[in-house]
């Protein structure tokens, strides 16, 4: 079979509606799931540091479970499994003018629950990276432990979180494709459906790859802009990663390295 250039070009520049819909869905799934994952990750990180054994045990157990099982399996359990057991069925939800299909809700929940466990580790490392003297100074002024965390430790930890958070989101954009397993019509599944009628597998998935790389590249630019602004505003706390390093590697792209470089 030869490479069909005109098919490829047409698909790249005049994609069918299902591709565009799928790509949009990919983006908003990633954004919502990442936002929820950050919130969950923060809660888990704080629970892990709790003085009480129950939240500590819950957070540790949760992280252990989520990080120890594949996302694909989690998605199937959450969407199909829970419905089959009669535990919970995701149904279409109408929020004013928009209606959110059950499978999209399940997709968001799966990604958020999964991401929370990974964000928890990043948050924990970031909180630990803040000098202990900071909380001490805040508490010596009469702030409660919770206030010291909120007004002194977390704002500093968040700066350390930004670089690895950006990498998590880059990953999230791509990981959404795994939700095709529960039948969520994002970019990857849209492409698969299209493939099953045209059989131009190579051209179709080359186009899909280009779409994904366009999304992650745009994100890299946004991430660089955010980090540049944070640096300008007063953190020597941020490790410097050039856009070139971000796109092609060679910088401190590993979260651990970023955390270490930041201190």
């Amino acid at each position: 079979m030869h490479f069909d250039w005109s098919f490829f070009q047409h698909l790249l520049f005049h994609p069918p509606g299902s591709f565009v819909q799928g790509a949009i869905r990919t983006v908003y799934l990633a954004i919502i799931a990442q936002a929820l994952g950050v919130v969950l990750g923060l809660l888990l990180a704080l629970w892990r540091r709790s003085r009480h054994a129950v939240p500590r045990a819950f957070a540790s157990g949760y992280i252990w479970l989520i990080r120890g099982t594949p996302l694909l399996v989690q998605a199937v359990i959450i969407y199909d499994g829970s419905s089959a057991m009669g535990l919970y069925s995701f149904r279409t939800l109408s929020l004013g003018p928009v209606s959110v299909p059950g499978v999209v809700q399940a997709g968001i929940v799966t990604l958020a629950l999964n991401e929370g466990a990974y964000m928890a580790e990043i948050m924990r490392a970031a909180i630990d990276s803040v000098d202990k003297g900071q909380a001490e100074a805040a508490e010596s002024l009469g702030l409660r432990r919770r206030q010291a965390m909120r007004h002194v430790v977390l704002p500093q930890a968040m700066r350390v979180v930004i670089p690895p958070l950006g990498n998590e989101f880059n990953n999230m954009l791509k990981v959404t494709s795994l939700l095709s397993v529960i039948g969520l019509q994002e970019l990857f599944l849209a492409a698969q459906d299209y493939n099953s009628t045209t059989f131009r597998t190579f051209e179709i998935f080359l186009v899909v790859a280009i779409y994904y790389i366009a999304m992650t590249t745009v994100w890299s630019f946004i991430q660089s802009a955010i980090e540049r602004r944070l640096r300008a505003r007063g953190g020597e706390v941020l490790a410097t990663v050039t856009l070139r390093q971000r796109l092609f590697g060679g910088g401190g792209l590993v979260p651990g390295d970023l955390l270490r470089g930041a201190r």
């Binding site: 003297g133 900071q134 001490e136 010596s140 002024l141 704002p155």
Partner: protein, 255 residues
């Protein structure tokens, strides 16, 4: 006599190390006490116990009339106070750290205003205005909007003193406030502390600056190996020490 600090029979262990061994001391309201002694003698630990940054294992330590960080339970044992009560007690005790511990994400003004706003619930505008006055008092009116990393060590330490003063403490504790400074910046920080002494602030200062102790302290306390070795006016302890250990220590720091 009105006492700001009163401790009796204080013991503390770090694992097997007996860092405070039956320590007793009194600091009167308005008094300036300088704690001296070799490193590892327990002076910093004792200071940190005074606002419950460290726990004590035995004894009684009253600060501003409260058993700091503890209450005595029905069996007569020390039980740790609630976190809220400890925070309340600390509001009246200023603490200045060796390494300043300024909040790097906040400007000098914001560093000073944070606790009044969050703890005293002072209106933000008022707190910022008070903060500017305090920064002027430590000679930093032109650095109000600077972030800590833009300030020299001496300037950072002066902001840290202003930050502690913003809570209008009854007692100020200084943990080697000039040890982390370049020599040329020691003077400006000591001058601020001297000024506070002149205004009648009650202070306990851990310091290796013997000239400062001589000039400012009402009393010097010499510690070694977890004990208070001797105590008295600076003229006597520093010039005619009664104890061999004090003499040995002083001969080392004074060359």
């Amino acid at each position: 006599m009105n006492l700001a600090v009163q401790g009796t029979g204080i013991h503390k262990w770090f694992g097997p190390v007996h860092v405070l061994d039956d320590v007793g001391l009194e600091v009167a309201v308005g008094e300036v006490v300088v704690l001296i002694g070799p490193s590892g003698s327990g002076k910093t630990t004792l200071l940190r116990c005074m606002n419950h940054l460290e726990r004590i294992d035995q004894g009684r330590l009253y600060v501003n009339g409260h058993l700091i960080g503890y209450r005595v339970n029905a069996k007569g044992e020390l039980a740790e106070e609630s976190e809220a009560e400890i925070a309340r007690q600390r509001q009246d005790i200023g603490f200045v750290f060796q390494h300043f511990n300024l909040f790097p994400h906040l400007t000098a003004t914001e560093n000073v205003a944070l606790a009044p706003v969050r703890v005293r619930k002072t209106a933000k505008e008022q707190a910022l205005a008070d903060s500017r006055l305090l920064l002027a008092r430590v000679g930093l009116e032109d650095k109000r909007e600077a972030y800590p990393r833009q300030l020299s060590g001496g300037q950072q330490q002066r902001v840290a003193i202003a930050r502690a003063l913003a809570m209008k403490p009854k007692l100020m504790l200084f943990d080697e406030p000039t040890s982390a400074l370049d020599p040329e910046m020691v003077g400006e920080v000591l001058e601020v502390i001297r000024e506070l002494a002149r205004d009648g602030m009650t202070m306990v200062v851990v310091s290796h600056e013997m000239g400062f102790a001589r000039g400012v302290a009402d009393r010097v306390i010499m510690m070694d190996q977890g004990h208070i070795v001797e105590t008295g006016p600076p003229g006597r302890v520093l010039d005619e020490p009664g104890q061999e250990r004090t003499r040995a220590f002083l001969s080392k720091v004074l060359h």
